[in-house]
């Protein structure tokens, strides 16, 4: 790595760490939204970018993580750090079930995508009828004092959430980097590229596809836990909504599928564009709900048409030279 890259990383690190102190409340909430997208986008990227399985129902895992940990906290007073494990366990079980059904019965391509969509929808309707989690009226977490930091119960000022998410996003980046360079990563990429050829080389594809689903579901569920305690209210209609699943997909696709930094770059671009649009609309005095999503849709359209590998690969080639799988 040359001096420029190191310097850039250093500057970004300083900025990132001191952000809560130097920006406004509003800007910090945008930063949190960006980090969330980056985190959840990386989680999705494991399944699609690495192992090649297209899930369009990832909101399922977010929702399960959120609801399980949120309900355990509200009804039984269980701290989020414990409830997290329960949420992850539930999400992983669901993911494993979907994965096993799909891979065992050779459900691929559009059928797999539809299966994931249907699973999320199915769960949404299920939670609409689940009294323990509030049904359609929603689940509300006890909102404690926001000035004091109660890290154990994940309650505190926005800055606390910011750092927690920053840590999560970076830890996931580290995990993905490590995975990609290991045997698991090689095998995932091989399966993504050409599954029959991978099998002929001795790769037990079912096992590794399941691993991708499970890792992806687990990470996504953690994001869900975080979201529950940040937003403090959950509604099946919103949490499991298909629009959410598509949002999760946007950052990695726009940034760069299968790359390490793609989801992060994508998250930054998306949030900037989205907030920029909202700000512009406000300035113009227009009230157009849904404009942000239209812009997202257009961005996705443009990316898919002209930059199918995402924004990050061409930029990284310019900065670091060819053939660096970042």
């Amino acid at each position: 790595m040359n001096k420029q890259v190191i310097a850039a990383i250093g500057v970004s690190a300083i900025v990132a760490l001191s952000l809560p102190a130097i920006v406004s409340h509003y800007a910090l909430s945008i930063a949190i939204a960006t980090l969330y997208l980056a985190f959840v986008g990386q989680a999705w990227n494991v399944m699609m970018g690495f192992a090649g399985q297209l899930s369009l129902g990832h909101a399922l895992y977010v929702g399960l993580g959120a609801y399980v940990s949120g309900a355990l906290f509200t009804h039984l007073g269980i701290a989020p750090w414990l409830g997290l494990w329960a949420g992850v366990a539930v999400a992983v079980s669901c993911g494993a079930l979907i994965g096993w059904l799909a891979f065992r019965f050779r459900v691929t391509g559009v059928y797999f995508a539809v299966l994931t969509i249907a699973s999320a929808e199915f769960t949404r309707i299920g939670f609409d009828h689940l009294e323990w989690t509030g049904g359609p009226a929603g689940l509300f977490l006890k909102v404690a004092q926001r000035d004091s930091i109660d890290i154990l119960n994940l309650r505190g000022p926005p800055a606390m959430y910011y750092y927690a998410l920053l840590l999560l996003a970076l830890a996931t980046l580290g995990l993905c980097t490590w995975l990609l360079k290991s045997r698991v990563g090689y095998y995932w990429l091989a399966i993504r590229e050409d599954e029959p050829a991978a099998e002929a080389l001795g790769i037990p594809t079912l096992r590794f596809k399941m691993l991708a689903v499970v890792v992806s579901a687990a990470l996504t569920a953690v994001a869900g836990v975080f979201m529950a305690f940040y937003k403090n209210s959950l509604f099946p209609e919103q949490v499991f909504d298909m629009g959410r699943s598509i949002e999760i997909v946007l950052a990695p696709i726009i940034g760069g599928l299968g790359t390490l930094l793609g989801p992060i770059v994508g998250a930054i671009v998306l949030t900037l564009l989205g907030e920029g649009t909202s700000a512009a609309l406000q300035l113009a005095g227009l009230e157009l709900p849904g404009m942000k999503q239209v812009i997202y849709g257009v961005l996705l359209l443009v990316t898919v048409s002209f930059l199918p590998n995402g924004i990050w690969p061409p930029i990284s080639r310019m900065l670091v030279g060819p053939k660096v799988r970042a």
Binding site: L54, L56, V107, Y111, A118, D128, H129, M291, V294, V298
Partner: protein
Amino acid sequence: MPAADLVVSVVVAGLLTGLVYGLMALGLSVIFGVMRVVNFAHGELMTLAMYATVFACSAFSLDPFVVLVPVALGFFGLGYVLQATVINRFITKPEHVQFLLLLALATILVNAQLMAFGPDARGVQTDYQLDAIELGPLLIDTVRLYAAAAAIVASGLVIAFFRFTLVGKAIRGCADNHLGAKVIGLPVERLYALTFGLGASCVAVAGTLLVLIVEVTPGAGPAYTLLGFVIVIVGGLGSIAGALVGGVLIGMSEGVAGLFVSPSAKSMVSFALLILVLLLRPAGLLGKTA
């Protein structure tokens, strides 16, 4: 335990609505069968057509059945242009890229409709909206009956098109063998655009008919897309008859589930069916096993 004639009425209502669903799914199946394109924006096109119908009817004081033809033609054009300009470039690209393209279109359509029409539900008003026909103990909604009849006619026209016209046969040729069709000089791109236009007009007609039965909201788009997929997968992706059979099956099961379980749980039955089909007979009830 609901009375037997209530159950039968509900089943019949479901059957009739299911025929309209079938027409919608038909469009989806045709597009996939010929071009291998999975139209993730299908439901969103339908809600667009529903809105078009609502506004045309209220603006010009017309009946939906009158508006049907211009809407069908309009959406044919829309579909044709969409395929020729945007989608065509993606035919040879990997599957997930196609999905994302159409998802992007879907997102744009849904939110554009939200911006333009607001989140409130809209419907049409006709004189016969609340009429019903009595067939012995059964009560059948007139609108459902008319809509189902129109759906049957439309589906019949599509089937006849593919079976008997030269263009239809040419399209089937493309579907069977893309390269071969090109080699013998068929204008494949134009035929694809025609096919997409046809699929779009199917879904538009379905929308026009459906808005007689239910009201439209922008958020219904994705739900209809998913419904379309469930029907098509259950019935058999690429099979015209399968789309209709699937539609009827889903329509009836939704009605029955709504009666016996709860109205909001009715799609759960459809999903259960979907999962069963995916696991046991992925080609669908009437699909060809590859």
